[in-house]
Every structure is written in structure tokens, then in C-alpha cells.
């Protein structure tokens, strides 16, 4: 069964269709990369899946759940994690606090007021910190991390949420070549057991991680297939890769 199925999705901003009649399916254990030129509607697509933007028409199904009917925090609680294009961490909180705040459950008022850090939570924070290479920076405030580390921290915050669907918007933007490699390795690890959608411009990085690639152009689906298929596609070369 598909974890994510987007059907006939359209959103129009004052008549401009940022995403136009798009359909997309992502299965379990799959890591899908979405590529396309600027303005192709990639980020808008993720915005609609996670509830930030309401679609004009169409359906987004996460397992059996119709996401277009839910608002942001409900979608997150259902198991969808979103990483934003510019790293969005809580800068005045430490790495530990950033991770802890993302731990699922106890997200109502009373639950959070009387929240206690159990050994399982500590363990979970430590293991995620290990995965995102921030084990030595636990008490550093997020605002003091380097750009790449903030990217990792935000991925770590998603991992704490244990999402079944992971949406990553340009996870390696601003990273060094070495950091990109580390991130690719990390993503290959964490995409197991869940579904992942990654937006990325860096083709070398996409090649390292993608199972399947979706190419968008002007809000529409241009091509879909393996990396090799897509790179050989004439329309893709003409509109995107050729430049």
C-alpha cells in the first residue's frame, strides 16, 4: 500500500497555479527525490502535504488519512515530519531541548506541564544525537550551531517524532562536500522503515540517495523514474538538467 498518495492536486494563488493537477505515490521504505527548476512547485507540494498551504483541489492521502482535512499539528501528530528549506530550529533552546520538545506524546497542556524525562526518552535523545553527529554538542544552543549542524538538528527533531513520512526540503543546502556525504549516509539509514520525500538541487547528492526521482516543471509532473531514466529523458534535459 502507498504511504503517500497525492491525487489531482492543484493550488492556485490568485490564478497562478503553483501546483497543477499533480499525482504522486510514494511507498513504504521508499526514498523519493523531487527535482525541478526554481518555481516548479516542489516546496509548495511539501507545504500542502504538511498542512502549511491549503490546496485548491485534489486529495492527499497519508495511509487512510485525508490530510487536506487536517491542520498542521494534527498532520504532524498523525506521523508526518517536515524539514524546512531554511533550517528551522529553536535557537534559544539547546540541542537536547530541541530534540526533547520534538518527542511525541504529552503535547497537550497538562501533559507538557508535568512532563518528566524518562530513561527511554534520554536514550532516544542520545541515539538521535548520535545519528545526526551532534553527540558532542548536546548543551549548545541551536542558534550557535553551524549552518550544516542546524540542518542536521532539524532532521534529528523529525527523527524524534518517529514519523512514517519524512519530508525534507533541501537538506544539504549550505553544506560542505564532506557534510553532504555524511548526510547521504544518514538519510540512507533513516529512510528504512518509513517513506521519505526529499527536494534537492544537488544532482550528485540525489544520485547518492534516490530510489526514484520525480521531476516537476511549472507545477506539473514532467517525468518520473530511476535516476538514469530521468537523466536520459529529453524533456528533462531540455527544461532542467541541460542548463
Amino acid at each position: 500500500m502507498d504511504v503517500l498518495s497525492v491525487t489531482d492536486l492543484t493550488v492556485s494563488f490568485d490564478g497562478f497555479k503553483a501546483v497543477d493537477n499533480l499525482s504522486l505515490r510514494v511507498g513504504k521504505d521508499e526514498l523519493r527525490c523531487v527535482i525541478g527548476p526554481n518555481g516548479a512547485g516542489k516546496t509548495t507540494l511539501l507545504d500542502m502535504i504538511c498542512g502549511k498551504t491549503k490546496p485548491t483541489q485534489g486529495s492527499i492521502k497519508f495511509k487512510d488519512l485525508e490530510l487536506t482535512q487536517l491542520i498542521e499539528f494534527q498532520i504532524t501528530r498523525a506521523g508526518v515530519g517536515r524539514k524546512f528549506q531554511t533550517p528551522s530550529t529553536y535557537e534559544d533552546l539547546t540541542v537536547v531541548e530541541n530534540l526533547e520538545i520534538s518527542y511525541p506524546g504529552k503535547r497537550n497542556l497538562l501533559g507538557s506541564l508535568f512532563f518528566k524525562r524518562t530513561p527511554e526518552i534520554t536514550e532516544s535523545i542520545e541515539s538521535v544525537a548520535q545519528q545526526i553527529f551532534l553527540k558532542d554538542a548536546l548543551t549548545v544552543k541551536a542558534g550557535q550551531l553551524s549552518h550544516g549542524q542546524k540542518q542536521w538538528l532539524e532532521i534529528g527533531m523529525l527523527l524524534m517524532q518517529e514519523p512514517e513520512l519524512l519530508l525534507l526540503d533541501e537538506p544539504v543546502a549550505g553544506m560542505s562536500a564532506r557534510e553532504r556525504e555524511q548526510t547521504a549516509e544518514m538519510l540512507n539509514g533513516i529512510s528504512k522503515g518509513r517513506s521519505t520525500v526529499v527536494i534537492e538541487h544537488d544532482m550528485a547528492f540525489v544520485r547518492m540517495i534516490a530510489h526514484k526521482v520525480t521531476v516537476l516543471h511549472q507545477g506539473k509532473l514532467l517525468a518520473e523514474g530511476s535516476m538514469d531514466q530521468v537523466q536520459a529523458d529529453e524533456r528533462v534535459i531540455e527544461t532542467y538538467l541541460g542548463h
Binding site: 504538511c50 498542512g51 502549511k52 491542520i71 498542521e72 499539528f73 504532524t76 501528530r77 515530519g81 517536515r82 524546512f84 528551522s88 530550529t89 529553536y90 535557537e91 534559544d92 533552546l93 539547546t94 537536547v96 531541548e97 526533547e100 520538545i101 520534538s102 511525541p104 504529552k106 503535547r107 497537550n108 497542556l109 507538557s112 506541564l113 508535568f114 512532563f115 524525562r117 534520554t122 535523545i125 542520545e126 551532534l134 553527540k135 558532542d136 554538542a137 548536546l138 548543551t139 549548545v140 544552543k141 550557535q144 550551531l145 553551524s146 549542524q149 527533531m157 517524532q161
Partner: protein, 383 residues
């Protein structure tokens, strides 16, 4: 990793952190031991008046410093507490019939009616005054009505994503409306004169020195309790969520939280503190007045918090006392210039000392570089 370079990695070190850790004990010693020993009864009851205003400042630290909501309407909640208490006291005072009041009542033909109502030809006690005959209604009302109103007002606005400066304007309007209604409905609220001329609380005379001393201690203890509750909230996960909302509300939704509920909650807590402060104020000063609910007092309360340090619940108490003493001193000596002075003070603090007094003390100390042991990192209490 970058952590070795950053001297203040967690909120725990630095003077703010230390003040927060030992500050409550220090404040308790100051309020419960030093002040009663050093001050005479007059100064002490003046102090008690300031402390009842400090409840509002502590609340403002929670909503403004940590919740990122600048409320200019705390005077309205202070006023609600103040007026509800005054209504109870006034009804008690009106029920007492000595020869002079009974003669007056006989003249107007209504016993048990507050004097200002008789003066305004209000012949029957309004229905919403009736429950305030009973202390078992009044006290819970003071503790429940203002926070409930605040929660509803907050939730409705935050849910529709009305925030920041727009919400500040709404709270500003709230305190303005409150003052206008009170002044306008003279027969029902006492108007510009407020409600005054009462001396007993459940038969207990509030006037003698002993009673004033007792009220001082009650106020100080309740204030310390509010400070502790505030700290408990800030140290909990809820407190971290608040900081997260303040800095990046949009992101918090995608961590699975509903920011509207959290913001409304902390707004309600601040309203509760203000209301308690208002009730205590009325008990000690013997007055509920529209001049304490409007825009000017609401802004003054924000200044208390700003001067004390808007990230420190304890600093808010010091800020209130300091600014209030200053106000008493300057307004006695430079009557016309006081408002300009407090305005200038606010501007100076916001521009040059955004962390308030708490951060000023920090600046005086040489910055120490502290290495945080990695192994113990998970056990470090934040805030």
C-alpha cells in the same frame, strides 16, 4: 564541534541563572525577614501595595518574556480582581448599620445598598452584584473569572493567528474599555471615584497595624507562591514549548503542538496573577479605582517587568518595587514630569538594557568561560 567557543551555552550559568536558582530564597528572606524588620508600618504597607502590583509584573514576564505576547491589558485583569474584592467589601460595609448610615438609608429608603448607588439614584442592587454578598463566591470568582476570560479572548485570537502587535492592540483596547465602562457607569461601579470606604473583611478590621502586618505577610507569601508557580511552568516542557513558540511559532505547529492553546494558557496564568494582585491591593489600600485598570497602569506594569528583566520572574518583583518607589519619590517631588520620566526610563531600558536589571548585573561581571561536561549534559536543568 563549536561548543567550546561559546561561553554561555545553557541558561544555567551567568547571573540570571544563579539568581533564578538561589533568587527565590534571597527574595523570600528579603520580603519575609528583612523588610518587616527594617520598615515601619507605613513603609511596610506601601511596600505591600507595590508587591500587589508585582503580581502583574511576574505574569508579564511569563507572557511577554517567554510567550512573546506583549499584553498592554494586565490592568484590566488587575482591575477585575480589585473590583470584585471591592464589591464584596462594599456590600459588607453597607450591611453594617450604625446610626449615621441608617439615617442616610432611611432617608433614601434602601438599607444594604452601597452609598454611591443611592447617590446615583440606583434603587435596587444590580443582579450581578448579588453574588458578591458571599465570600465563597467572591474568592473563587477572583481566581476563575479573569483567567477564564483571558483564555477565551486569547484562544479565539491566537486560533485565528492574530498575534504580536495586533494582539497587543486588542489588549490595549481591553484595558481602555474596562476603564471607560467603569467611569461611565457611575451608579453601578462607583465611576471615577472608584469603590471605597470599607474597613472590614468578614468582620476583620483591616485598619490596625496588626492587620496591616498580617496583610503584608499574606501578600508576600502569595507573591512568592506565584513566582514559584511561574518558575515551575518555565522549567517544564510547557515552558520550553513557550520559548519555541516565541522564537518560531510556525515551526512549533510542525512539532505537533497547537500554539494557540499554549499562548492562551500563559495569558490566562498572567491574568490570574494580576487578579490576585488586584484583590490584595484593594484589601490593603481600601480602594478600587478606574485609574488602576486603564492603559497607563497597564503600560507601567510592562515597564516594571522590562526594568526588572523580562526573562526573570524574580527580577520582575525587584523591578516593580524599584520603579514604584521611584514613582512615589519623583511624583511627590516633580509632579509634572513623572510621566515623562517613566517614558524615558522605558525607552532607555529597551534600547540599552533589553534584559533589564538582571542582565545589567550580569554585564558587571567578567564573562567566565565554562566548559560543559558532555557526559552530564543530559542532566543539566535548563532555564
Amino acid at each position: 564541534m563549536a561548543n567550546g567557543d561559546s561561553p554561555r551555552q545553557n541558561g544555567g550559568d551567568g547571573l540570571i541563572g544563579r539568581l533564578n536558582r538561589h533568587g527565590v530564597v534571597l527574595l523570600a528572606l528579603l520580603l519575609l525577614v528583612a523588610m518587616p524588620m527594617l520598615l515601619d508600618t507605613f513603609r511596610l504597607s506601601l511596600m505591600a501595595k507595590y508587591l500587589s502590583l508585582a503580581f502583574c509584573a511576574v505574569g508579564i514576564v511569563l507572557i511577554w518574556g517567554y510567550g512573546g505576547i506583549l499584553s498592554l491589558g494586565q490592568g484590566a485583569f488587575f482591575g477585575l480582581g480589585s473590583y470584585m474584592m471591592a464589591m464584596f467589601l462594599k456590600l459588607e460595609a453597607s450591611a453594617v448599620t450604625d446610626s449615621s448610615t441608617s439615617a442616610l438609608s432611611a432617608f433614601f429608603g434602601q438599607a444594604g445598598l452601597p452609598d454611591f448607588m443611592s447617590w446615583n439614584s440606583v434603587e435596587k442592587l444590580p443582579w450581578w452584584w448579588e453574588p458578591f454578598h458571599h465570600v465563597w463566591f467572591t474568592i473563587p470568582a477572583i481566581l476563575i473569572i479573569p483567567p477564564l476570560l483571558a483564555f477565551i479572548l486569547g484562544y479565539v485570537n491566537f486560533r485565528r493567528r492574530v498575534g504580536e502587535v495586533y494582539f497587543s492592540i486588542i489588549t490595549l483596547a481591553l484595558s481602555a474599555i474596562m476603564a471607560i465602562v467603569i467611569v461611565g457607569q457611575q451608579g453601578l461601579t462607583g465611576g471615577i471615584n472608584g469603590i471605597t470606604d470599607f474597613k472590614t473583611f468578614m468582620g476583620w478590621n483591616l485598619d490596625p497595624d496588626g492587620a496591616k502586618l498580617a496583610m503584608y505577610f499574606i501578600t508576600a507569601v502569595l507573591l512568592l507562591l506565584c513566582v514559584l508557580v511561574g518558575r515551575f511552568i518555565l522549567r517544564s516542557r510547557l515552558g520550553k514549548v513557550l520559548v519555541a513558540i516565541r522564537d518560531r511559532e510556525d515551526r512549533v505547529r510542525f512539532s505537533g503542538y497547537d500554539p494557540a492553546v499554549y499562548k492562551a494558557f500563559i495569558f490566562a496564568v498572567a491574568a490570574l496573577f494580576s487578579s490576585i494582585g488586584g484583590a490584595l491591593f484593594t484589601l490593603q489600600v481600601g480602594l478600587a479605582s478606574p485609574s488602576l485598570v486603564g492603559i497607563v497602569p497597564s503600560i507601567e506594569m510592562v515597564i516594571y517587568a522590562a526594568v526588572g528583566g523580562r526573562l526573570s520572574v524574580i527580577g520582575a518583583v525587584y523591578g516593580t518595587v524599584l520603579v514604584s518607589y521611584g514613582k512615589t519619590f519623583f511624583s511627590e517631588n516633580f509632579v509634572q514630569y513623572w510621566l515623562y520620566m517613566i517614558g524615558a526610563l522605558f525607552i532607555v531600558v529597551v534600547m540599552f538594557l533589553p534584559g533589564g536589571l538582571a542582565s545589567f548585573l550580569d554585564k558587571l561581571r567578567p564573562v567566565r568561560r565554562e566548559q560543559v561536561p558532555v557526559g552530564g549534559a543530559l542532566n543539566i536543568e535548563g532555564n
